[in-house]
Every structure is written in structure tokens, then in C-alpha cells.
């Protein structure tokens, strides 16, 4: 496995993982610690992640910035049930070739000052992976995965995606999210494939690494697929390309499938891991339209038989164990045989193809992040200039996803401008949550019931653009 600079062969893995465990032991973060791992897509990140998984540690997997001092607004806090904070550091430009051989070079370990006590889900013997849902603004919950189930789920993915030891798999999607980890990295590891991890989905870096690593399997998202279509090397021979399911236009799907190789959509969630994917042998028509049968052991049903679609429910043998809050208390503990509400609307075609229609509640997928409109409204209303805000997602899309328009009522006596508010958004919101347009109103339209009239606002937003 490699990140383009540092490489570790499968044969060297046990020794490297031992070194990392010993290093953590000397710093007091032994097998019984519950650390928060701030991981990045690098060989060092992969090794640290594997070291914790191999020793069955309970640990929280957080996105990292590669620095001890956080520089990224997407960073998530260390939960209060974590004993330590382990940061995977990015290699400095001048790092020598043997940089990866000393764990102290790439790990920063500190005790967590706000540690409260162990989480409730911390049974001895079964390592748990804690990972936050992708809701981006404060409403994230901590999902608990048993590590045994995590590997079972990865094994089902391996079956469905048909990865082999000869494959060269590239992962420009984060290995600290369930898609990159559970559907991409772990299945590739189980296959014994060569694995290339890459940070940030930067198209220029991707093309650089494509030339060097020559992947034949790629885990992408629709955004990266679009960039490759535009600038990629046509004729580069991918045996298989997997993309996360976020409504990719059929035309683009066909275009990509024609030019780059067998494209497969994979559908899943942070709670359930991979749920279903298209079958590689299905016709392009079917793969472009939707998803194939669920993965091994998974049962799917629609909540009712409404032709326009219904909420998709899922029974998964390798799904999550429940949710924790930041202090480590159970918010929800899954019962045996409990159906999971996906929050997605779906429709089953007569030929069995499952079509995901979109989110059931008022959230949108922007640049790979699930964004709840209510969260953005709350954040806007925290600004000193604003008394009330409503955010509308239009049907039009840009590169990040559906365009967002915010309607704001300024506080009495406050003079501000839409531009000034939008600049303030850049300071307070992650990039994918910043409304594309802001309009100031003196009042918001209401329905007779007193609820916000979102339909009228949607019409407004179309007229204003």
C-alpha cells in the first residue's frame, strides 16, 4: 500500500503494526485506551488505523488535517469518552525515505483533558469503531460499529465488487468515512490488492498519481467522475470504477462507463455500511438507472407501495450497534431484527432495479456531505445581524450539488448587505454548507398553519437567480 511517497508491503505489515502498538503503549495509550484517531489518507494513516483494528481497540475515527493544530473547519471534536487524541501527521516535504519506519515521526499522541469516562458501548473483547454521521453542522451522532461486523460487511463488498489480489486499487475518497473505509479500503485489503490512498480528491494530484500508480480499480464519487470525464486520460483502462450513489445523471454515467470502464454505483450509509450496489455484469442501461439486489444477508423494503417512491428500509446483518452521544451514553441501541430507516426515498422498477430518488427529509448532499437545511438556518440565526433565516435547496445543481438560497430577516435597526452576510458565512460555515445566494427580506412567507411556506420561497429563489 502506498500514498505515492511512502509504501508498505503486505509482508512488512505485521512488523509495522507492532511498532505502532509499542509506541502507543509507551505513551500510555495501550490496548485498553479509547483514543480518537484523526486520520488522513496516507500510508501512515492506513497503518495506524490497521494497528488499532488489529488489536481490537475501541476507537473514534475522525477526519484529520495532518496537523496537530487544526487548520480545517471540517474537523470534528474529540468525544469526551476518548482517553487520548492520536493525530496522524502529514509528512513534511523534507521527510527522509525511512520516515515511515519511526511511529514517532507520524503520530502525535496526547491525553484528552476533557475525558469523562469510558463509553457505554465499550464491552471488553469486541473492539468498536466509533464514527460520526456525515451531518455537517452540530447534529452529528456517533455511530457504533462492532469491528467483526465491519469486516463481514467488507467481505460482502469484496464479493460484489469482485476485487482480486492482482488489482491496483486507488482511493481518492476519505478512508475515515464509511464509504472509503468499509466499501473501499477494507475490501481491497481483504483481497490483498495493491492500494493507493490519496488526500483530498484534488484532480491534479489524482492525474499525477494515476500516471505513476496505474490503477485498474478506482473508488470515486460523482464529482471526481465528472472531473475525470473532463480532464482524465481517455482510454486509461479501469477494470472497475465504483462511485458512491448521489444522483449521477444517466448521460454522465453512460459517458463515463463508455470511456473509462465498468462503472458500479454503491449505496450505503454511515450506520449500515454498504447496503447494495449494481452488478458489474448488468447492462449499462440497468447500471445507469439504479442499483442491483442488496448485498449478502441484507433485506430491503419500501415503506409502502406508492408508485412515486417511498422511504427505503433496511435490515442488515452487519449494520451498526446504535448511536452514542458525545459523552458516550447510548442515544439509541439497535434491537435484534430492527429495520433501519434510511431517510432516502426509493422506487423499485419492474425489472427489479432500485432507484434512489433523494433524501426523505429536508437535507441535501453537497460535495459528498449531507447538509441539513435546518442546521444552516440555525447557524445563520446565530449571526448577530440576523433574526430569522430560511434556506431553500433549488432543483438546479452546480458542482457542489443542489444550489442553496438563504432568505434572511435582519434584526431591527441593523443595516447589513447580502454580500456581508455571505462573507460572514465563510467564517462560520464549512464550504459545502455556504448558501450560494443570500436575500434579505423583511418577513418570511407563512402558511395558514403558521409554518414556513417553503414552496413560495422556492419560487422566489428561482425568480431571483
Amino acid at each position: 500500500m502506498t500514498d505515492g511517497r511512502f509504501t508498505c508491503a503486505y509482508g512488512d505489515l505485521p512488523g509495522r503494526l507492532d511498532d505502532i502498538c509499542r509506541y502507543l503503549d509507551t505513551l500510555g495509550a495501550g490496548a485498553d485506551a479509547v483514543p480518537a484517531l484523526e486520520c488522513i489518507n496516507s500510508t501512515a494513516g492506513v497503518l495506524t488505523l490497521l494497528a488499532l483494528l488489529r488489536r481490537g481497540s475501541h476507537f473514534l475515527l475522525n477526519p484529520g488535517s495532518g496537523n496537530v493544530e487544526p487548520t480545517d473547519s471540517n474537523l470534528k471534536p474529540v468525544a469526551r469518552f476518548c482517553t487520548h487524541r492520536i493525530v496522524v501527521l502529514r509528512a513534511p516535504p523534507e521527510a527522509p525515505p525511512d520516515w515511515l519506519e519511526t511511529p514517532g515521526n507520524f503520530l502525535s499522541v496526547s491525553r484528552h483533558a476533557d475525558y469523562l469516562g469510558p463509553p457505554e458501548a465499550c464491552d471488553p473483547g469486541i473492539g468498536n469503531l466509533y464514527i460520526r454521521t456525515s451531518g455537517s453542522l452540530g447534529t452529528t451522532k456517533i455511530v457504533v460499529h462492532g469491528q467483526t461486523r465491519l469486516f463481514h460487511n467488507a467481505d460482502s463488498c469484496l464479493d460484489r465488487l469482485g476485487l482480486e489480489a492482482e488489482d491496483r486499487v486507488t482511493l481518492p475518497v476519505p478512508i475515515f468515512h464509511m464509504y472509503g473505509l468499509g466499501a473501499g479500503f477494507l475490501p481491497a485489503l481483504l483481497a490483498g490488492a495493491s492500494i493507493h490512498v490519496e488526500e483530498h480528491g484534488n484532480i491534479l494530484r489524482y492525474l499525477d498519481n494515476e500516471r505513476r500508480f496505474q490503477p485498474n480499480v478506482a473508488f470515486l464519487n460523482p464529482l471526481l467522475c465528472g472531473m475525470l470525464l473532463r480532464w482524465g486520460r481517455f482510454g486509461s483502462s479501469y477494470r472497475r470504477v465504483v462511485t458512491s450513489t448521489q444522483a449521477m445523471r444517466e448521460e454522465m454515467f453512460r459517458d463515463f462507463d463508455d470511456n473509462f470502464g465498468n462503472l458500479i454505483s454503491l449505496y450505503g450509509s454511515t450506520e449500515m455500511g454498504a447496503i447494495t450496489a449494481s452488478l458489474s455484469q448488468q447492462s449499462q442501461d440497468k447500471r445507469a438507472a439504479g442499483l442491483g439486489p442488496p448485498l449478502r444477508g441484507v433485506t430491503l423494503r419500501l415503506e409502502d407501495d406508492n408508485k412515486d417512491g417511498a422511504e427505503l428500509l433496511c435490515l442488515h446483518p452487519y449494520g451498526y450497534r446504535g448511536y452514542l452521544d458525545e459523552a458516550g451514553h447510548w442515544l439509541h441501541r439497535c434491537a435484534e431484527g430492527e429495520w433501519y430507516r434510511s431517510g432516502d426515498w426509493a422506487r423499485q422498477r419492474n425489472d427489479g432495479i432500485l432507484v434512489i430518488l433523494g433524501r426523505a427529509n429536508s437535507s441535501v448532499n453537497r460535495g459528498g456531505y449531507l447538509v441539513f437545511l435546518g442546521d444552516i438556518e440555525n447557524e445563520l440565526e446565530k449571526l448577530p445581524e440576523i433574526s430569522q433565516a430560511a434556506v431553500i435547496a433549488s432543483d438546479e445543481e452546480d458542482h457542489r450539488g443542489r444550489r442553496l438560497t438563504a432568505f434572511c430577516i435582519p434584526k431591527q435597526g441593523v443595516t447589513t448587505t447580502a454580500d456581508a452576510l455571505r462573507a460572514a458565512c465563510f467564517r462560520h460555515l464549512p464550504k459545502h454548507s455556504i448558501p450560494d445566494h443570500i436575500h434579505l427580506l423583511s418577513s418570511l412567507p407563512l402558511l395558514p398553519s403558521g409554518k414556513l411556506d417553503r414552496k413560495t420561497l422556492l419560487l422566489h429563489s428561482k425568480e431571483l437567480i
Binding site: T71, H200, I203, L204, D208, W231, I434
Partner: protein, 96 residues
């Protein structure tokens, strides 16, 4: 090298980033020697894509597939030299 020309291109690139990219930076905040990505100006994957498109539109050329790599995008000074060589038809140095 043709310093005046590349200085001019650096300025145009700074304006493209400040005025046309959705990154909330002013021209004054963009130095020609700052790296463009993480640890520098911080263009994310979407912004990079838009930036490439805007360069093509503003300067009226298209990047060849082999030219899209990290090297010319190291910082605005390096990029301006690349753009300059593309504009003067000097493909030999453009493809470094």
C-alpha cells in the same frame, strides 16, 4: 524570462481567484508564492476544477491532458510562467 508579462499574468490569475472563484479572498490576500492547495490558499477539489476552467476561458487555451499535473499549479508564479509559455506557443517548456 519575460518578467513583465508573467507579472501581468500573475495579476490576472489573482483576480480570477478573488473575483470569479467562490473562495472569499481578496486580491491582496493572494500572494504569488503561496501554494494553491492545502497549507496555502486552500483551493478545494471543486475550486480547483473551476479554476482550471476559468484559466482556459480567460486566456483562451486548453490544457493538454498531460499538462494537468501538480507541477504548473505549485503557486501563481509558476503557473503564470506556464500560461505565458502556452500563450507564446512554446509547448516544449509548457509541458514540463
Amino acid at each position: 524570462m519575460n518578467t513583465e508579462k508573467t507579472e501581468n499574468i500573475v495579476d490576472q490569475l489573482r483576480h480570477i481567484i478573488a473575483d470569479q472563484l467562490d473562495v472569499n479572498l481578496s486580491v491582496a490576500e493572494i500572494s504569488p508564492d503561496t501554494p494553491l492547495f492545502e497549507g496555502g490558499i486552500g483551493l478545494d477539489s471543486v475550486a480547483i476544477m473551476e479554476f482550471i476552467t476559468l484559466i482556459e476561458e480567460n486566456f483562451g487555451f486548453e490544457f493538454a491532458r498531460d499538462e494537468l499535473n501538480l507541477k504548473p499549479f505549485e503557486n501563481l508564479r509558476v503557473l503564470s510562467e506556464f500560461v505565458n509559455s502556452k500563450l507564446s506557443g512554446d509547448t516544449a517548456s509548457a509541458s514540463t
